[in-house]
Amino acid sequence: MQDLSLHILDIVENSVRAQARNIWINIELNIMRNSLIIRIKDDGTGMDQDTLVKVHDPFYTTKTERVKKVGLGIPLFKQNAENSQGNFRITSELGKGTEITAEFRYDHIDRLPLGKISDTLLAGIIGHPNTDYFIHLKRIKLDGEVLEFIFSTPDIKDVLGVVPLTYPDVIDYLEDVIQSGIKKIKMEEYQ
């Protein structure tokens, strides 16, 4: 994976496969503390303790569609966090959901760039319109000022009524709102 936004999309896909109805995505960039924290939480099927241990193993996957049995999503994300003197935590409870937290040292040379966070959010939201997303992005500047972007799909669905999120003009609208929100708090980095 080239950047963190692709890892986020990968984890979101896991959540959807685990039948999550709600997905919470939090990114907190704290310049003062030199830390970048990505937290993704879902209310999907969750995992028991045995499975939870296995997800760190690159040769473990639940995907039965494949002949090749590799599951690199989580091991790679973990490795990328640890490469930047950060840490990676995954907690899960059967029937309740899963929560993943990846912390990075913000100025570490091996920290992956954030990438196009807006593209990841748009792909998740439009690709799985029945899942609800709660997005909270936060940047704490050196002088302590807090910049935030908060967005959730139930707010949008309330206004739309029977009109689907996948309607062309709505896609356009979502792209604009998400892109300008992220731009305002500078939560994207390009390579």
């Binding site: 496969r17 569609e65 792909a123 439009i126 739309l160 996948t166 604009d176």
Partner: protein, 122 residues
């Protein structure tokens, strides 16, 4: 930045339109969004598909995504599903190919045979 007021206008316009046609979609476009698909650029392909569909106002086309399909070496993979026709699977789809698939296959109904990796009746 657009406001919720604009979203309300979109709703009104969409509701008018939805009255004129049936709610079902003519074509379903499915992007393979597993780990290998994402790593190979599936998100960019999805973005282009969404842009094309929104620009061309293709209200009867639905773009959605699925997980791994066991075609890792052919990622990104895109399925075009149309009622009464075989499912066409495109492989190694780039953003440029995706534009071509929208213009030729989805709009004009002509399969872009250069990028097809499988076609099957379901």
């Amino acid at each position: 930045m657009k406001t919720l007021e604009e979203l309300r206008k979109i709703r009104e316009k969409a509701q008018q339109e939805m009255k004129l046609r049936s709610a079902s979609h003519r074509i379903k476009v499915v992007v393979g969004m597993g780990t290998s698909g994402i790593a190979m650029g599936a998100r960019e392909v999805m973005k282009v598909l969404l842009q094309e569909i929104s620009q061309r106002q293709l209200t009867d086309v639905l773009v959605t995504q699925t997980g791994e399909k066991g075609l890792s070496s052919l990622e990104p993979v895109v399925d075009i599903i149309e009622e009464g026709k075989p499912v066409v699977t495109y492989g190694n789809v780039t953003p440029e190919n995706a534009r071509k698939i929208v213009a030729e296959h989805i709009v004009n109904g002509k399969v872009v045979s250069d990028f097809v990796v499988a076609a099957e009746n379901k």
